[in-house]
Amino acid sequence: MTIWLRVALKVVSAFVLLCAFVLITLFFTFRSAKFKDWLAAELSERSGFHIQIANLAFRPPFHIVAGKVQVSKPGALVLNAARLNITILPFDALSNTLQKLDVEKPVLQLDLEEMLKSTTQASAAVALRHLNVREGIIVLKKGEVTVFELPKINLSADNLNLGRQAGIDLSADLPQLNGELLLHMSGEPRNLEMEIVVRPKHEQSPSVRQNPDGAANEILRVHAALRAPENEGAEATIGAKFHELVIGKAQLSGDLASRIAIDRAWTTAAFSGRAVLVDFPKAIYPAGQKLPTGAASADFTGAFAFSSKTLSVKSVEITSPLGAGAGEGEIRFEPQARIARAKLIIREIPWDSVKTVFPAPLDRWIYQGRGELDLNVSGVFDALDVEGILRSAALRIRSENMNIGNLAVTAPLRWKNSALRINDAKLSGTQVIYGAKNQWQASAEQLLVSASFEVERDAGFKISGAFTTGGGKFSSPDSAKAGENIKLSGPFEIAWLPGKASIHLNGNWRAEAGEILWGKVFADLKTRAPALEVNTEYLRDNDRLVCHHCKLNLFNIGAIDLIGSLEHLTGAPALRLEAESKNFLPGGFFDFALRESFNRQYPLLDKVSLQGQMTFQMKLAGALDALVAEGDCTLRNGAIRTKDMDWQIGPIALDLPFQVRFPAAQQQPMGSVRRGTMSIEKLSFGTQSFGPVTTTVSLANNALQFYEPLHATVFGGEVEVANLSWPDIISAPQRLSFSGDVQRLQLQQLTEALSWHPFTGTLTGSIPQVQSEENLLRTSGEIQAQVFGGRARIGKLEIENPFSSLPSIKLDASLDGIELEQLSKTFEFGRISGILEGTINDLAVTDNQPSQFSAEFHSVDRGTEQRISVEALNKITVLSSGENAGSLYGGLAGFFDSFRYSKLGFKADLKNDRLTLRGVETRGDQEFLVVGSFLPPTVNIISHTQVIAFSELLRRLQSIKSDSK
């Protein structure tokens, strides 16, 4: 160890010992009561205040802790702090600088009277590098009266300089604003001026007053002046400019000018002023970027009562881009700062400007009109209670798909506990239209809505109420489906839950009036009072309407329950529904939707009525024009009958599984076809009735098929219809096919039932196939009738337009071995004996009249007697000539009752109402209808080629008929 090293070691040891000695000395010195008292006395003398310190301690290395510090003047407490924690660095002490001062729970009491007294005592120049105040209170007093109290003050400031120049200069860093605060106070207390500047930290400037050109860079500049002449009232003016002053989320720019007049006794301070805020409302509501921004100003007057600590705003007039307003109110600061009452009326709210705060899609609509908002506000500032009413008249709303011509809104509202409630809002709209051109459209001449609305933060919203529409309409893009004059009303509830992109819609709506045209089907709603109950949910992301349960109820038709969904609701809707009904009345539906819609095309519908009760459940899937329906239906006590009870089918019992599709739907793969049963208890036609009839039946892929023959015992014989089927009841309901078999029908009964001229015989035949294609029903096979001792065969039976008002029946027929005796007797045509045979081809009967035929009938000599009576001769003559030949026969042949003939017959062609009549034998230009025999008495009836108008033929037949009577 060198000598230098030893010396250095001694010096360091001595310095450490010296420091330890100093610290130990300070520690014990600060703990001594004498030093504490000395320090309090010294500070009291230097400051002019009486200072008391309960506890004093030194904490190494440089901390001084003072507990329960009281600063007072005689008769008045000025400052009371629970604890002062002072940090002093040795070198800072030389420059009157405190490194750090922490003040806990200080209560600073300022007496106005004392403050306004002149003082000559100079303040010490003290600098504070860090100042922290926690839970401080400033109490402004006047004498014994507390004028004002500011509680819960927490302050953190850096680099405070006090009293360097004339008056008070204070500077402090404001880390929250990333800036610094400069305060300059000058003048005597009764004529005091104060300048406060806050500016960014990097804009360093030695003093407040030395940089007037730097105002543009200042965040805040406040100039306040107080004039308080002795024995007079005080007057203060405050002017402030602020630029991008950040308070919370708001960034404020603007200015404030205010004048305050304080009465002599300092009981009331009346104020007035004007505040201007630029970039409103964006400055205070940054989220409202799309709101129109501009300058907002408020001119205000009011007063502050020191004793009651009540701030009364007598009037405030506001102008802003969001409307103009006026208001008044009262704020009380004890026991807690709160708005006692405030009334604000905002006029001329431009809806189209404020729509950006509306939820989608309301923010995309176009609004023409302005609103008013009357608000009453009360409560503490962090839990305000706002009650008011929103009004708007003559508001017009348009969007791509919607138009409301005139909407009036009255909405009482209340904001409380972070929840907005609108109770019994009234909306009255006219000319309401929804739907774009070339799409489905709905409209209402009048729409009245009464609704209540509730929205809570993070809790979604719910709207419930009731509505009524008048003059409601809807129409499809091609107008083929439409509704008019619909009066719809009922309660509804719309709810939106957060976190779920869906809206619930519940309601129970009734149509009191209205008409619907759905293609060719017309329905008047008034008689059926349809009611629709819905419990649905709209999933916005999927554009899907989920029907949890919907129910359509029509009076005298029944109720249909629906569950499922509608996909692509706003585009091309497609169904995925299950439908069920337990009390569907097909008769009611027929009267409601079908009878009047198709009665001009099918007049029979006006004469028919349906009965029975149906239950069904089915699945509906596909687009509206490509719908597929699959399910089961049951019919009980069904019946079809004419209103005059001319014929009746029923009771019908049906259990039918079905699967049908609209033409645009793809054909479904055919699996195993499910079959049902149909049984008809009785079929009645006039006096005839038969039954029961039972068969299995299926309806799959639009094909309706009956599997067992329909067998009936009727008219004394048997009728059987087999293989009855409709290949496509939706696209081609007129196409059907079946086979028929008739056995020994008694013609007597049949002709009586058909009100024909009665005759005897039997009808037997088989038609292997009857096929209906478009407007033609065609048969194969033939029917034979054993009639008049011979046989008639009917074939090539066709019916044109069988389901129209003008069906036309066509057939070929041949007669063989017909006994003329029976025939003439049956038709009261006199008496003719002999055998007749012949054919009638291309017979067409239209509108119950023969319109064409080609016939050839002649007698056949089979050795039997062939005679013709005078009466028959006369009738043949009348028929062929049009004239009664009674006198002729009476004169020339009055001696005979009948004549022999060798041959009789005729050939006739009917077309276009003209009957061409020829005889059974032609000799030159003579046509023999009757050729006499060789043996007398005999007769010839000779005609020439006759062309007889059909109307004339009818007249002649009528003449014969009347002669017979």
């Binding site: 008019e484 089907v521 017309f522 003559t877 026969y889 005999t938 007769v939």
Partner: protein, 194 residues
């Protein structure tokens, strides 16, 4: 060579087939005018029955008893036949329906299209019930008119291919006899008031 020439000429001559289809245009025009007048001529009045010639008879005893009579044959004049049960029924159906259609034509809702068929021109001022009614009326009327033209063709042995010509001739009659104020569609498809 001569034989070949003769054969060639004979072949060419035999190959020249002339098909001459007769279409009684003038008669159809007269028939159309008559039918349109009968069916739509006057509101609410049934058509006057056309007087049809009656058969005559002549008695001429021959032999012991011989009855002879001579009927007057209809002369096949230039007119076509427009009377048979189907045509009568269709005419009657059209006539009865016309009373229901004419108010809609007066109001301009139904017009006569260029092909002579009825068309719904406008539904302005119509209730849905009236719209349904006009749809049914127009459909039924056009169906009857089509059927009428087909029946006229059939009754007069006019080929099916000529039915459009009948329709065209009738179209002109419907248009010519339309009341002033009714809407008619021109060849360009534009509607004009008569």
């Amino acid at each position: 060579m001569l034989k070949r020439m003769i054969f060639l000429v004979a072949f060419i001559v035999s190959a020249c087939v002339t098909v001459n289809i007769y279409f009684p245009a003038a008669a159809v025009e007269r028939a159309a005018d008559q039918i349109v007048k009968e069916t739509w001529g006057a509101s609410g009045e049934p058509p006057k029955p056309k007087s049809e010639p009656q058969s005559q008879n002549l008695f001429s005893p021959a032999g012991i008893v011989s009855v002879s009579f001579l009927g007057e044959a209809y002369a096949q004049d230039a007119d076509i036949n427009v009377s048979n049960p189907a045509i009568r029924a269709l005419k009657e159906s059209i006539r009865v329906r016309s009373d229901a259609i004419k108010p809609y034509m007066d109001r301009g809702n139904i017009g006569i299209a260029q092909d002579g068929m009825l068309a719904i021109r406008s539904t302005d001022g119509l209730s849905l019930k009236e719209r349904a009614d006009t749809q049914q009326l127009v459909a039924a009327e056009n169906r009857d008119r089509e059927a009428l033209y087909a029946e006229i063709a059939k009754a007069n042995n006019i080929a099916k291919e000529s039915i459009p010509r009948i329709k065209t001739i009738f179209a002109q009659s419907w248009i010519d006899q339309a009341r002033p104020g009714w809407w008619i569609q021109d060849n360009q498809g534009n509607w004009k008031k008569k």
